[in-house]
Subunit: 211 residues, 4 copies
């Protein structure tokens, strides 16, 4: 899917409201990203931004989060897609200041462990990007990140993968919130988490890939 | 959008049930408002009411809340739209008697602080309108207001903006309720809230406006 | 709307799952009611049952709850519609054994007070009907009733009104559950509840009626 | 319905996200099952697997859970359909490590008692199947089973019945979670549960069957 389709998927899945959220895709030396202020549900085009210097290629104001997206593409060569949402359950964990502990085989499969949380970041610059890179360097299997008091970013080897991670992190945030309310948070053993992650990423799908 | 489209949007977004809720638009010396008893999802026309004296322009019984809407238009010259819902999370905060604290950058962007709550108001007269004006005078950035034991009113420079605020206040009420249940309500620093509000209202969108 | 349309509305509004729930309408000496085992979402016809002796008018097995519906029509001459759902929030109150306290003006408008709860009833006979009649006799404004450990019944002067009550009782159950979780249940004063109920039922809508 | 229709129903009902979940159907000596990695919402075909030795009949990688499904068909001759989901409420109970207690007549009707929970199982082999058989042998009315820290499996005499159980177990998990949050879990008396189950499975529907 392209950036416009990704934005509309985020809206249809209930992960963004109003003009919240955005998606971008790296194509060569450029990233395409949602225009600033556009509603994800009604976006009609994407802005083109040079990754090297952040110059905009045409008359189009890119998302406020463009510097954060750009920092991610420049720091992590293998990613092609970045997604940002304020999906309710994940944003609640981010507001309460908790990482989402890995209590299900589903989260093990998709994320290989807890969903980490950053410190509070200023919006509009590269700080969000730098915080995500720091969390990613700690464990390079990570593709979803909570931003404290703000929301979620996901990254992917494709834009489809980043969108799928945005859907899955909200699902995990939902189930884990429900279990937390029951006073029933039991983190799976890391050895079980790792076995599930490995199975899901190496022996899954029609071509040995989960994407 | 016009009043009929606004009402249908409120129903489609799950912010009203049955004949709950209403929307109005100021056009010159008149306001158009949902008829009394009409279901938002099925409204077909709007009633026309003179702002000066409240006279109805045609054979049509306007919403019970018409005096409250009229009081708002008469007290706050810059608004063109008013929306009222009983959206579930916001109404729960209103019933429990709490303002919604500002714990996310999203609420900072949209509302610039807490969502305030009124005292209990009689329905059908101007009391709701007067209470909202009192809360708005305290901080004129405010566009969403809880009415204790009742629901939500939003105001906007356009009807579209008032509808957007009604969507966003329910989103904020949802996320903040979830965080409150985790015993994790951390109000953002006012300096951060103000910086986000300023960025969102001055440097956002394709024409420097979030609306 | 007729019985088939009512059943489909219940499914579309998320008030019933699978073959749960049913609706009936009194037409003269007969009631039409959902067939036993039919999914509300896919019901295609209604069974015809004589109110006097419960005889079925054609080859059709009526809903297990037919004796309860019949008992209601025979005891309360002014009702024309009865609806039964297992909507999640109302059923949670019914399972926990609580009446739903009236904490909002919305519940005041629609129901004029708390939503009462019965004792545990055997299914398939008239016991559910008798319990509802007992609760209704206590306050004849009541149109929605929790059945302990089971679900909800609503009654109406029309089938449309009974369906609307089924939608509204779930809305009230939802908002009130959210407020209860915040330790914020404040029952409105009965004088306020009565004023709202009176306004809603006497001075509302295009013809002075809320239905 | 066939396997493809079953998978799409699970997605439409909100019981699975992304490539989670699967469904299978026994047809003679073969089972048809969702391909590995396929999204339930977009599955287009099913893989064919021999029940006797697990050989795949064509170029198609079956779901990782195929050995668990196969173990169920081989141990329980009367079942024709198996469904697996990660539906949020049921998965929360499974993560918290609780069986779902039977607190409603609806759960009595559909399941005849509590929804049992297994120990933690390795994914990809027969362990999940063996655990379910063990729970089923304890009470052969059981058609839904929580897998600890993982999700839900349901079985049915038809694939339609297994899909219906997957819908109903999430409904029961939802209502019971809500009641648990109110500190209001009251298990029904087993004699009431048994009476409801018997009525629902022997005297219900147009042909004396609930399916």
């Amino acid at each position: 899917m392209n950036v416009v389709e990704a934005c509309r998927t985020l809206a249809r899945e209930g992960l963004v409201k109003g003009s919240q959220g955005n998606a971008s895709e790296r194509i060569g030396a450029v990233m395409l990203i949602k225009p600033s202020g556009a509603s994800c549900a009604q976006t009609k085009f994407a802005c083109s931004v040079l990754l090297q210097d952040g110059d905009v290629r045409e008359k189009c104001t890119p998302s406020t989060d463009a510097p954060a997206h750009r920092a991610l593409y420049n720091a992590i060569p293998e990613i092609k897609g970045v997604v940002h949402t304020h999906s309710p359950y994940a944003t609640a964990w981010a507001s309460a200041g908790w990482a989402i502990p890995c209590v299900t085989t589903g989260q093990s499969d998709a994320f290989g462990g807890d969903i980490p949380i950053s410190g509070f970041c200023e919006i509009g610059g590269e700080e969000i990007g730098r915080e995500i890179v720091r969390m990613w360097e700690h464990d390079q299997r990570r593709t979803a990140f909570l931003i404290r008091g703000h929301g979620v970013f996901t990254i992917g080897r494709t834009l489809d993968a980043a969108v799928k991670s945005a859907v899955m992190v909200e699902h995990c945030a939902h189930v884990t919130w429900l279990a937390q309310q029951m006073r029933g948070l039991y983190r799976l053993a890391q050895v079980e988490i790792d076995a599930n992650y490995k199975r899901y990423h190496e022996n899954y799908g029609q071509h040995g890939t989960s994407e």
